[in-house]
Symmetry: C2
Subunit: 392 residues, 2 copies
Amino acid sequence: MPLADKTHLRIPGPTPIPPRVQWAMNQPMIGHRSGECSRLVVENSRRLQPVFGTDQPVLIVTGSGTSALEAAVVNAVAPGEEAAVVVTGAFGDRFAKIVTRYGITLRRLDIPWSEACQPEVLAEFLQQHPQVKAVFLTYCETSTGVLNPIRELARTVHQHSDALVIVDGVSCLGAVDCRMDEWGVDIMVTGSQKALMLPPGLAFIAVSDRAWEVIERNPRSRFYLDLIAYRDNLTKQTTPYTPAVSLLFGLKEVLNLIQEEGFSAIVARHRLMMEMSRAGIRALGLELLAPDAFASPTVTAVKGGGQLDVEAFRKELRQIGVVVAGGQQHLKGKIFRIGHMGYCDPLDVLTVFNAIELALFRLGVPVELGSAVKACEEVWANVSRTHHGSAQ
Amino acid sequence: MPLADKTHLRIPGPTPIPPRVQWAMNQPMIGHRSGECSRLVVENSRRLQPVFGTDQPVLIVTGSGTSALEAAVVNAVAPGEEAAVVVTGAFGDRFAKIVTRYGITLRRLDIPWSEACQPEVLAEFLQQHPQVKAVFLTYCETSTGVLNPIRELARTVHQHSDALVIVDGVSCLGAVDCRMDEWGVDIMVTGSQKALMLPPGLAFIAVSDRAWEVIERNPRSRFYLDLIAYRDNLTKQTTPYTPAVSLLFGLKEVLNLIQEEGFSAIVARHRLMMEMSRAGIRALGLELLAPDAFASPTVTAVKGGGQLDVEAFRKELRQIGVVVAGGQQHLKGKIFRIGHMGYCDPLDVLTVFNAIELALFRLGVPVELGSAVKACEEVWANVSRTHHGSAQ
């Protein structure tokens, strides 16, 4: 058994909780209709705006990330309407499942599970489906480590239709640049347990003026996930139903951490961790699932096969003290995924590669110990040198 | 300003978190598909069964209590069907709102907001509405402190119809006797933040075999709150979507606390706290909202009026360090409510009355200091004497 509580959780969510956030969640419980809770709700909502890149209020829903995906669907699309879902992996597929479940005509654009959707592909698809009222996109596809070019895709949607642009930002918001208003994203949703460094249990949703008009006209039945109730209650400084108060305590501290590090530094840190991870994997002679152009700063997927049995490898890594994720759906047993987001820094990436080298060695996969770590360190060293140089 | 963090939160939920539960929630985050999380989900579900009085698995949903009320509605009643909702207060009213929102024909039985529904009243109502497919009941009506006689009401429903019996147990499960299977309750729901001593964010739902048949036939669209997905995933030792993991850590410790104290002792403690609270209020010459026969062991509502301005009184109490709730909807400004459930013991009830006496004195309401506390202590003393006697 590894040393208790010493596990390095490097899956693409849930992610480790920073000590200050953990401590913040230990405050004594408060009433959800108290002034203190109102201040928490209002301030957290306001301070989440730069993470989304929006001037719209950020709504706080108590639920898993999937509750936010569903909220986007049931609020924005009426029964019988058409919606396009761009499926680049398991979470695009989840959007498609929700859309189908709710009696919406699904126009599904399947992209191979290792690639991003390219604007010209979406443009052609939208020309074939001029009736779609909403286009569902995934910012970071957690199952593949692919980052879709949301800015360009949103522009493409607006060029070809009046459809709403709805984006699942669950596994990257808080780690990547997001300019929802500027890019013309109409609904952006995310969850608490990924780059936002909280336990699972909260979902966050921002909505454009254009989308609110659609939502207000939408006759579809909804109650717990009725976004109008969240918006109207937020103007009264509260939530419609008892929120997950301890996570609101934690969120306040998360937003302090983000403010202290600075959002551009956070984005740069995640980019560096991505580059280190990719260099390390390449140095080991392993194959990355996503090409560089589509790589996500929050999660890196690596192909198994040949001498690398990914499930045996993940088990060996766990013994050493590092937990990485496997593949989902048809990628199960075929890839492993390293999460490098939230409470994770370049040293943590080195730790992951320390463990990866050892695990490969133990499993008899040919590996030169230190080689991946060297490659990672070189990436980091060069970034440091650049920074040092630019400071002179 | 009162001493920081020394507030006694005595509202009917959220309720204070026991230190051991707080500590348990500080465990390092784990993956939601890990063996450790599977064990948490399965064990927590199993150990919740005695709280519900059921052999059915208890489903764990990440959401507010309202998400569980909605889950009951959307899973059990198809569009166009008829449902009866017994409204004894604000939470019965919430059931009615959800039912209406989902295109179900509402048969609403309004009971004055201070009384329980009597079986003969329900029987007559059901005879007038023979088509109802489900009857929605509230076990403890949080807004009035009334406990509805669920055993008798369930029996009445079964005598007069084949309708499902669906019960909101949010503000009492874990504090009162509940024998869901024996009483013939088909769906029982509760939340984490009341007698179960956790922060808000989890909801718990148990379903009878009879109700599962209805749920499986129900064509209504649902996704996040589709109970079939929770049931099927529980048999695979997991949840369909990322659960609020830190609350699952806490729940395990809550169930340890319940096991150590013993469920019958917990029920007796809540009953004692109710009797003490009622004796204290009477000693002050104030008027209880609910008669003794309908009183809930978890929350006591008290009428204001005359010399007692309840909002000024609640403010004064807060200054002293005790937080009680006000009234909801048409009872706003007319009552205050003392929560005495979960991590609350008879000494805490005495503390509440210490503060109540002082607050009344400060507001110039005639009060004999010590009189309410004396009455509370007498109740407790008599119970202690009885116990002492019976042990000989």
